[in-house]
Symmetry: C2
Subunit: 180 residues, 2 copies
DNA sequence: CAATAGTTTCAATGACGATTGAAAGATTCC
DNA sequence: GGAATCTTTCAATCGTCATTGAAACTATTG
């Protein structure tokens, strides 16, 4: 490997991807491993990753497992080799779907359920006089709930139309907007 | 205040909002303060927040400043009172716009710029023979770049149609999808 | 079945960001 | 101006979460 520009570009991308991950609540190393595998054509083994990213075996193992768990990378086996190799999901659209769906399931579902519970709790007071205070809180929680369900529907729609459809669709609506 | 169900619901919502924030890279306390102000009708002062959330004056001050910085809460003044009070942006849609725009500016713009830089770096090798390896990396980075710009356009569109428009629009497209 | 190769686990450690509280800095009031 | 009230700052501390590395575990090989 003597393609130094490619190496430099790869390193730069990996660093930034790691930083972005960190600020979105994903461990820097996990994001870096993901970036490395995303850019690399051939599958890599644990030792490759340890060397390229200078991390311990334990960390590599843990983070790889988590990435497999998310569905963002796959375990692959090389014929005639005992080692396990890893390969990333390379389709950006697929990645988006996976990440959004997982985060939704793990992190927004709980809050949606909580909101529902809260709404029940508040409206049980409704037998008595509803205080303005309670009514205001109820309305805001309801608005939040609506927001999440609209976003959820929109996401499902995006997944359905897919990347091929989304861009033209967006453009079409933009055009309609401009006319209106 | 004797509306115990409302209090319980509020506390529950705040706790969960804080947890969600934490897993999205926002400090738990900052998210909790935001939730408290979101649910409360009248503006609150620093001492109210310290008491309700059991945090120090320093922490309250810092987190409030950050929230003001994000544009998610406003400083308001009560006539005949020297204290500063805080009020949240109560419109959920507006909140979404603010959060998305800020996160985009702070956290996705840098990666987009990095991708552009990387693409340049790689294509400068293009004078020489482009290795398959470099070509694969280039293609993936380009796909990622496309993804971000599509998402950006979609976001602008959503903001333009607004909440009133989005839900019907989504439904309309869903219907078209079902027919196709 | 023992030896070898590879992977996972987990207690200890480390790094980093958040929080605290007291001191310094503003602002308003008389 | 200076006393009173409120806010911000920041060095020290605390808590949390990721990482380390060695030991335990699993799976292949001859």
């Amino acid at each position: 490997m003597h393609n130094s520009r490619l190496e430099a570009a790869t390193a730069l991308f990996i660093r930034r991807w790691g930083e972005m991950g960190a600020s979105w609540g994903i461990s820097r190393t996990m994001a870096e491993i993901h970036a490395l595998l995303f850019l690399t054509t051939e599958p890599l083994c644990t030792d490759d990753i340890m060397e390229r990213l200078q991390v311990s075996r334990g960390s590599a193992s843990t983070n790889l497992r988590q990435l497999v768990n998310w569905g963002l990378i796959y375990r692959v086996h090389q014929r005639g080799d005992r080692k396990e190799y890893f390969e990333a999901e390379h389709d950006v659209w697929q990645m988006f779907e996976i990440i959004t769906r997982e985060r939704s399931r793990r992190e927004v579902q709980p809050i949606v359920e909580t909101i529902e519970k809260c709404l029940e709790m508040i409206s049980q007071d409704g037998d008595a006089e509803t205080t303005p205070r309670a009514e205001a809180a109820r309305r805001r929680m309801a608005a939040m709930h609506d927001f999440f369900s609209t976003m959820n529907r929109l996401f499902n729609l995006m997944v359905k139309v897919g990347p091929r459809g989304l861009s033209p669709m967006t453009r079409a609506i933009e055009k309609l907007q401009r006319l209106a």
